[in-house]
Subunit: 131 residues, 2 copies
């Protein structure tokens, strides 16, 4: 299990990503709007990991509510797993509560699932399946 990315919520994902590209030289990996998750996503490569900038499509979305409550900032961490269904079963067996008991498709077209932050010391944690 490795650190796949850190999610950063901002009012303007493109502006934030452009700033990090310019300052740190991180290359653009993905730019996509994901209507069913209510976000625009801009991902930059950073070694084997990514920085994922998230912008809400409206205030009434998970990222929109996060911004209204806390302002822009670090939003979640994501770990890559080889088999997400096996990882979910393992976590549930250890007593963790999942937001997604069934994987859904993330911005990059890969299976993802979020855990309930109440199970992870208040930290929002995502899993992504990378073979």
């Amino acid at each position: 299990m490795h650190l796949d990315h850190v999610g950063i919520a901002l009012e303007d994902a493109k502006e934030g990503a452009d700033l990090f590209r310019r300052l740190f030289g991180l290359p653009l990996a993905l730019e996509r709007t994901v209507p069913d998750q209510g976000v625009k996503v801009v991902k930059l490569s950073s070694g084997e990991s990514y920085c994922e900038f998230l912008e809400p499509l409206s205030p009434d979305t998970p990222v929109g509510r996060f911004l209204a409550k806390r302002g822009g900032g670090l939003h979640h961490v994501c770990f890559a797993v080889p088999d997400i269904r096996a990882a979910i079963a393992d976590l549930v067996g250890k007593g963790a509560a999942m937001i997604d008991r069934e994987p859904r498709t993330g911005a990059a077209g890969l299976p993802i699932a979020f855990l309930q932050p109440s199970s992870t010391a208040g930290i929002l944690v995502e899993l992504v399946e990378r073979k």
Copy 2:
């Protein structure tokens, strides 16, 4: 430049790290108290990156003030660079403001420097030198 670690501020770093070790199987990489930074640090390995759990040694420390203001959560991101003095010079040349214009020694004994979050879209960003 690759994502070296994500910093997580909690009231009890050991408890948080133990939870992530148990749930995600991340191995312990480092456990250390750093009095001059006012923190206890517990680091877990996660591929080429780390999850760094930070616990304030007192309320009147940067991490203590963060917890009082925002509660436990994601605190900073850190990028690894091969030459930290060159990276600082490059960032200053691009107009970024540094908290540390001169590198100091981090928990793992490596040179580190933080940027002013006002230069990085409100995100606290650290650099660490890894040859």
